[in-house]
């Protein structure tokens, strides 16, 4: 079917319109170097959502939210009772992020639905475009809160006490957000089981670009575990206290990270281990620190490695300390997922039918898509990004690369919603 309708649909995907919307969104939270800092549940996030809602309503889509702030834009099907096909991504960014990570997946969903409608192509199933709350985990850790709660992977009140860098609890930020959007129809969390889920995203790695390829047909997502390590020692004067008598939290943090590096050694270079966030208190140059906190981001595509080395983390840290105490808290744990064949198949067929060059590949980054896997056939579409860079202002994909991705998404949605 998709092959016969493809010409109409492909022509209806408007490269310039999509790019223009992306650039309008990029102004909301713009930071130097073409970057974006748009924290979840912030006034900027709400401004971006209102902009999106305006476009959706102009198109005739029905808007709804839920108790986690997930936002849904519904294109009605000829059978309103049929399970919808769901597509989308997220609108929050990293604190020093780019213009495409997340937001393109939402706007690609809108553009695809608009193209389907403008091409006069009815679908039996409804298609919904979703913007999940807090995928990045930048303001509130962990990420993917919206999709985890929606899918039933986690309880919706799991993160009430998590605070942002200003000390504002997630619960308070969410309450404020829901109050600001009280005019929008609210539906129950996880209101339905989708027929399928498709998420479009920039690759965040170099493989498509370096291979001269157009479309990543994502086959699965590696597993991720996030930990917060809190080290507590004793503050002292830097000039008077002998080193032998100190409980220096910075020094024990350095020992812990060094020991973790040994645990995480991997000659195959498949394992990902990152300490990206470090905080020290009182953080004064002439005071021995009594507290240090750091994060661990550990990922692997092999479940057994993820389980074994993740389980070893607390013991390795404890053994590395010389004078301080440490608390290790796991804040995020997602096993590796393999997407069921339906969505990757539809994506690959659409790419090939449009004369594009696809590559089957796993995702190194985690995405909301992985929490949809238990609910329905799921998958993702990647497009190349320059130098593989993301989570940085210099993150970039061309208007043409993004339009190709949206055309594949539109055709895949049409097939899945037929």
């Amino acid at each position: 079917m998709s092959e016969s309708v493809a010409p109409n649909l492909i022509a209806a995907v408007d490269e310039a319109r999509q790019w223009d919307r992306l650039m309008q969104m990029a102004k909301l939270g713009a930071i130097p170097g073409d970057g974006v800092n748009r924290p979840c549940l912030s006034p900027l996030d709400r401004e971006a959502r209102r902009l999106l809602i305006g476009w959706a309503e102009a198109l005739g889509l029905a808007v709804a939210t839920d108790e986690l702030g997930n936002l849904f834009l519904r294109h009605e099907g000829s059978d309103p009772e049929a399970a919808p096909v769901l597509t989308g991504s997220h609108m929050d960014s990293q604190p020093n992020g780019g213009r495409f990570d997340g937001i393109w997946g939402v706007l690609a969903g809108l553009e695809a639905v608009q193209a389907i409608r403008e091409a006069g192509l009815a679908t039996r199933r409804p298609i919904e475009v979703v913007a999940w709350t807090n995928e990045e985990g930048g303001r509130y850790a962990p990420g993917c809160m919206g999709s985890m709660a929606w899918s039933g992977f986690a309880k919706p009140d799991s993160w009430d006490a998590v605070v942002d860098p200003d000390g504002i609890p997630f619960r308070a930020a969410l309450d404020e957000h829901l109050a600001a959007e009280a005019d929008l129809p609210r539906r129950p969390l996880g209101a339905y089981r989708p027929h399928a889920y498709v998420e479009a995203h920039i690759e965040q790695g170099p493989r498509l670009e370096s291979g001269g390829l157009d479309i990543g047909v994502v086959t699965g997502i590696q597993g991720s575990r996030w930990f917060l390590v809190e080290i507590e020692g004793k503050t002292d004067h830097a000039g008077t206290t002998p080193l032998s008598q100190r409980q220096d939290a910075v020094q024990d943090m350095v020992r812990a990270i060094t020991a973790l590096n040994r645990l995480m050694q991997d000659p195959a270079d498949v394992l990902r281990f990152t300490v990206g966030k470090v905080e020290v208190f009182p953080n004064s140059s002439n005071t021995v620190a009594d507290r240090a906190r750091f994060t661990i981001d550990f990922r692997h595509p092999d479940k057994d490695v993820l389980l074994a080395r993740g389980a070893a983390i607390p013991g390795v840290i404890q053994a590395a300390l010389t004078s301080c105490r440490a608390t290790v808290t796991e804040r995020f744990f997602a096993l590796p997922v393999e997407f069921q064949p339906e969505v990757p198949g539809a994506v690959e067929r659409a790419a090939l039918a449009q004369g594009l060059k696809p590559l089957r590949m796993p995702s190194g980054a985690f995405h909301d898509a992985q929490f949809l896997v238990p609910l329905c056939p799921s998958g993702m579409i990647f497009v190349p990004c320059r130098d593989g860079v993301s989570h940085h202002p210099s993150e970039y994909s061309t208007p043409e690369q993004l339009a190709k991705g949206t055309r594949v998404l539109a055709a895949a949605l049409l097939e899945l919603a037929a």
Copy 2:
């Protein structure tokens, strides 16, 4: 002379009045746990200075400031042309500091002068109580800016471009401060060469308390060197970028600190090496950090060790890096000083005359006193502090311990100003 007048003078030092003033000051910038956070050149700092000025004016002392914001309270001598005896300390605190570090030395000077006046004891020389600007270096590094500029050790514009954590340059903060105190008489920087300088301070170490002693007769101050290390790498996505391809600023920081620990090994445990401040950017748990900054506080009483190991720091850091670049900037360098015999002699005599138990000892912490050494006979009086703790809200000395220190200061000032 001091022995004959001691009874009058000792009785005139009012333990309760001094404690009450300390507790009034401690309200300005009070933080949980009985602590104080009163950054230099802040509105809180100015509020504390106005409180002090009020007490000084009620006592009949003349108030003056200079272009660095150093504050002087003058008790006139019978010979106004004679070189003054100078005493004092600082009023700024560590960000998570206590109620005694610095401020007691200023209030002890005020109490000593008040006792001398109330005991009806004239002095030939003027006595001035000074509050030096920014001794702690907490808001603007390095510390001791006021005394370094006053003594001619550094030019008064040396730190114009130094910024605080909010990005406010020292020059701007100082200009705002001077404008807010434009009503106070302003005198030239380093207007005179003192006859002697005496600074009272809590010990910031455990020796007096554990020895059951009352007074530390400070013989000298160990040398200090402060460095700022800035590491620059490349930001990347924590889930996608192979470890072999990263330029991870946190990892190279850990390597640099580990290498510095080896450089700073000292079986005698006399050397002090502290990494107390660490900052990471963008500081997001799922982003490889492209920048990390940390401070080095290195101290030693032996000039040769201070010179040799300090000189080795940049090379050791460079050799430890695997993928990032590092910049090492020295921000403070003070050689060890030995106080001339006059002031320690007067302090020791006063303590013994009052039946107190003194101990001759060096200072591990640096103090404004070390920058007065080239100008005049200088010295310090230490009093015990609980568990040797300072730079922390739990910092504590008893009203009685502090009054003993002030009585010794009063007698020493009287002898030096005779």
